[in-house]
Symmetry: C2
């Protein structure tokens, strides 16, 4: 935790994670501060990087992406150059909506969306030709728990 957060900050973070689509005045009422004070708090949370950004979260299926998969990836080689090639490939593919290096049974975990099966296959083929030795596809069937706030 690189930033000191008091109770009001924590409360603001909870509220903003749940619903950032509210006026500053409304937030101020919730946390019991003046609008000016609230504005300063929120600004500081953004500036310090605790709040990375405010975004709209879409329903992937409603937005035209009925296929969502987790892709677990093992690389064929593990030198820095192979890693970078893979990273750049992943960043350049719009269907990959998140990706992380991980420690465990595999090397990387990707989240991929696609409009149909052929598009998904394109993604798989491209990753295979860019260093992925083993790709395990986990098709997202149903949400157990939606993207939730960090329990600050």
């Amino acid at each position: 935790m690189a930033v000191k957060l008091d109770d009001v900050d924590i409360l603001l973070l909870r509220e903003l994670q749940q619903d950032a689509d509210r006026t500053n005045v409304e937030l101020a009422r919730i946390v019991g501060l003046s609008p000016a004070g609230t504005l300063n708090r929120v600004r500081r949370l953004k500036e310090t990087g605790v709040v990375r950004r405010i975004t709209a979260r879409l329903d992937p299926a409603q937005a035209g992406f009925p296929l969502q998969v987790y892709l677990s990836v093992t690389l064929a080689r593990h030198d820095p150059r192979a890693n970078r090639t893979f990273e750049e490939t992943v960043r350049a593919m719009p269907q990959v909506i998140a990706a992380d290096w991980v420690a465990g049974e595999i090397d990387a975990m990707l989240l991929v969306v696609a409009r149909d099966v052929p598009e998904l296959q394109q993604v798989l083929v491209r990753l295979s030709t860019r260093g992925a030795q083993r790709l395990t596809t986990l098709l997202r069937l149903e949400e157990i728990k939606p993207a939730s706030p960090l329990p600050v």
Copy 2:
């Protein structure tokens, strides 16, 4: 795609996914509509469910959660009751910030955050005693690609 989206809608979705922290007037200028028209569009996108919500995305480490893991889960039993028990357990655990049923080598994929190793272990133990037969932990090391907009 359950909703018809024209070019202006698509443009709005792109902008809102990237940065929802802007005034309606600013959005209106970007998409080339009047503020009133833009407001109607955005409201409709929210009402139809394409936009699920507007939220603050935090930096997990900055917010006090240096440990983030993907947990792949295989259940011991697969009857409806075991599934429900597991679902309810997961929903009730604040450290689980997202969870999905998947088709593939495993049954479910979870995203978990923790303040330290003991807290992570607590999560693992609890899941084990609530139906998880096999738990594979993938520790998030480094971001390859941050949470990105759907490529609408």
